[in-house]
C-alpha cells in the first residue's frame, strides 16, 4: 500500500511522469511556435538537454538577496504544481486522490507558483526582479477571479465541489459540457495569464524588464522555475480539460489516454497560437481587459449554469 503510494507520487502519475509530460508539451509548444514563425524549431529531444544543462550550471545568489527565500521559492513552485495534479481526473473520471472540495484545493495549489514568483523576485534584490514581482502579483488578482468563477460555474452545474464527482456527473450527462464553452474560453485566457505567456507576459517582459522575476536566477534554481512553468502548463491544461472538456472517460486506459493527450494538446495549441500572434499588453491594459471583459464573461457563465440547472430540475 505504501509502496503503491510512493509509486503513485514519485513515478506514475506523479513527479517523473509529470516532468516527462512537461518536457513533451514544452517541445510541442516550442515547435508549434517555431512553425508559426516560419522557423524550423528544435528537435524533439531538445527540452531534456536544455534542462540537464541548466541543472549543471553554477547557481549564483546575489549578495543582497535573502538566501533562504531565494533558494526555497523554486522548490515551492515545483511542489505546488505537482501537488495539484493528483486531484485532477485524467483519462478516467476518478482522480488519483479526491475528496469533497478539491476544486478549491487545486485552484489554491495552482496559485502557489505565482506567489513564489512574487517572493523569489522580491527577495532577489534586483529592481528588474522587483518590478516583475509586483507585476506578477498585480496580474494575479486580475486573472484569478475569472478563472475561479468559470470553474465554479461548471461545478455549480454538476452540483459538487469535487473534481472527480464533476467529471462523473458530466460523463453521465453527455453534452452538458457544451453549456460551459464561455467558461472554457475564459479559463484558457486566464491560463495565459497564469503561465505568463504573451499577451499577458508583462511579469517577465523580456524587452522591458529583462526576465522579470527570474532575472537573478541561474543554474539549478532557474531550472526548477522553468520546470515548474512547464508542469504548470500541463496541470493547467489538465484542469481545463477535466472541467470543461469532460468526455471520453469510458474508452478504457489506452484509447482514453490518447484522447486525453489530444485534448491537452488542443489546449496547449490554443495557448501557443495566442502567444505567437499577439503582442504584449501593458499591465494596466491587462487588468482592464480582465475586469471589463473576462470577469463579466465568467459571470455570464455562472448565470447560464444557474439557468440550465434550474431548467434541469
Amino acid at each position: 500500500m505504501i509502496l503503491h503510494d510512493v509509486f503513485t507520487l514519485l513515478i506514475f502519475p506523479g513527479c517523473l511522469f509529470l516532468l516527462f509530460l512537461g518536457l513533451v508539451f514544452q517541445f510541442i509548444d516550442r515547435k508549434l511556435h517555431a512553425r508559426l514563425q516560419n522557423r524550423k524549431g528544435p528537435p524533439w529531444f531538445q527540452p531534456l538537454p536544455d534542462l540537464l544543462k541548466l541543472l549543471g550550471k553554477e547557481e549564483i545568489i546575489p549578495e543582497g538577496a535573502n538566501p533562504v527565500m531565494f533558494q526555497l521559492m523554486p522548490i515551492f513552485a515545483v511542489t505546488g504544481v505537482i501537488a495539484s495534479f493528483f486531484y485532477i481526473p485524467l483519462w478516467n473520471s476518478q482522480a488519483t486522490y479526491s475528496f469533497y472540495g478539491d476544486v478549491i484545493v487545486v485552484i489554491y495549489l495552482l496559485t502557489i507558483p505565482t506567489f513564489t514568483f512574487f517572493l523569489g523576485g522580491w527577495y532577489s534584490s534586483s529592481l528588474y526582479s522587483m518590478i516583475g514581482a509586483m507585476r506578477s502579483q498585480t496580474q494575479f488578482f486580475s486573472y484569478e477571479v475569472p478563472l475561479f468563477m468559470s470553474v465554479l460555474a461548471s461545478a455549480m452545474l454538476a452540483d459538487t465541489w469535487s473534481l472527480s464527482e464533476m467529471t462523473k456527473w458530466y460523463s453521465n450527462h453527455p453534452f452538458y459540457w457544451m453549456f460551459n464553452l464561455i467558461g472554457f474560453f475564459v479559463a484558457v485566457v486566464a491560463l495565459l495569464g497564469k503561465l505568463e505567456k504573451v499577451p499577458f507576459d508583462t511579469p517577465d517582459a523580456e524587452t522591458e524588464i529583462v526576465a522579470g522575476t527570474f532575472t537573478e536566477y541561474s543554474g539549478r534554481l532557474y531550472a526548477f522555475f522553468r520546470v515548474a512553468l512547464d508542469i504548470e502548463l500541463v496541470v493547467g491544461a489538465a484542469l481545463i480539460v477535466a472541467v470543461f472538456l469532460p468526455f471520453g472517460f469510458d474508452l478504457g486506459p489506452f484509447p482514453g489516454f490518447f484522447v486525453w493527450l489530444a485534448k491537452i494538446t488542443f489546449v496547449v495549441a490554443i495557448l501557443t497560437v495566442a502567444r505567437s500572434i499577439f503582442a504584449r499588453m501593458r499591465i494596466d491594459q491587462m487588468i482592464e481587459f480582465c475586469w471589463i471583459y473576462l470577469a463579466p464573461a465568467a459571470f455570464c457563465q455562472i448565470l447560464l449554469s444557474l439557468v440550465v440547472k434550474g431548467a434541469l430540475h
Binding site: N38, G64, I131, T207, F278
Partner: protein, 419 residues
Amino acid sequence: MISEKIPTSVDKFKAISSDNISVQESDDPGDRIVTLNMGPSHPATHGVLRLVLSIDGEVITEVVPHIGYLHTGMEKLGEYMSYHQFIPITDRMDYLAPMLMNLGYILGVEKLLGITDEIPARAQWLRVLYSELMRISSHLIWLGTSAIDLGAMSPIFYALQDREQIMNIFEETCGARLTSTYFRIGGLREDIPDTVIPMIEKFLKDFAIRLDEYQNLVTGNPILINRLKGIGCLSKETALSYCCSGPVLRASGVNYDVRKARPYSGYEKFKFNIPVYQEGDSYARFLVRMDEMRESATIVRQAIDAIPAGPVKIDRTDIILPDKHRTQGNMEELINHFILSCRGFNAPVGEVFSTIESSKGEFGVYLVSTGGEKPYRLRVHSPSFLNLSVLPAISRGSLIADIVAIIGSLDIVLGEIDR
C-alpha cells in the same frame, strides 16, 4: 496603484538587502523614486543605448539616455583617409541602411568637387533605385524589431524573409550583402548585371502582398493600437525645436522630406507622395513608415521601368577608377589608377554641406577641405541622434512598457549616433 509598494532606497543602484526592504509611506514624492538602469546590454535598446530611468513605481519621471558605447571615431577617421577610402566606413554608420550612408557621403564629396551635375543619368537613376530598396530593407528591420519591443515575436521572421530578398539583390549587384560600398564618388563601382532586374520585379510582386498583410496586422490589431496610440506624443513645435527629421517629424504633421524639398540624385523625376500624419504619437510614426515602404516600392517600380542607358561612371579617371581594360592600353589611365589607388584625388579648397533623406531622417555630411587628398574636417549630421534627443521630452510620465514602444517607434541606430 503599484507605486506605493516599490521600496524606497537611498542607495539607489546598490543591492537592497532583504533586511532593509520596507514600505515607507512618505509624502515626499522624491523619496519614492528609484533609479533603474536599462542597458547598454538590454533586449530593447536596439544595440547599446543606455537609459537611466527614474521611476516612481512603473511611472517614469525622468529619462537620461547615455550614448557612446559604440563610439568608433568615424568622423576622426575621415580626416586620415582619402575620400574614396572613407566610403566603406560610412557603411558602418547606419548598418541597416549602408547604401543610404554611402550616398549621403558621396553626394557631399561630389558637391565639393563640383561634379554633381556631371554624374551620368544612369548612375543617378540606379542610386535612387538602390536607395529606395535600402529604405524598404531598413523599415522592414524596424517593423520586426519594434514589434519585438511590443512583445510580438513573430513579425520579425517574416520581415527578415522579405529583407532577405533585398539582400540577395544587393549580393547579385555588388557581391556584398550588408556593407555594400556600391556607390562611388563619380558614379557606381560597376553596372548592374542583367539578372538583377527580374529579382527586383519578383521582390516587388511579393512585397506588395506582404505589405498589405503587414498593414492589416497593424491597423487591425487592437493590442498593438492600444500599445501605440497616444503614447510618446511629439508636438510639431517640439519636433521642430529638437531638429527631428524623417518619419518622426512627418508623423508630427510637418511635411518635410529632403527628397522633395531639395531633390538630389534625380529624385525630382519620380512621382511619389510624402506620407504625413498629424497625431505625433507612436502609432502615427508606425503608419508613416508603413506608408513610406509603399511609396518606396512605387519609386522602385518607376525606376526599373525606365532605366536610362549609358555609362555609370563619370568620364574623369582622376576621380574614379577607370575600367581595367582601359588601364592596360593607356598610359595616362594607368597612372591615374595608380595615384587614385595609393593616394586619392586632390579636392579643391572649400566647405560643403549636403543632405539626403535616409531611412531614419535627414542625413548630412559637412566637409571642410583645405586641399589635398584628405578632408580637413568631416562632420556627420545624424538623424538618429537628433530623434533620440527628443526621448526624455516625450517619455516623461509614461510607463516602463511605453518607453520601449517609444524607442521602437523612434527607430534609432546606435552606429549612426555614435559614429
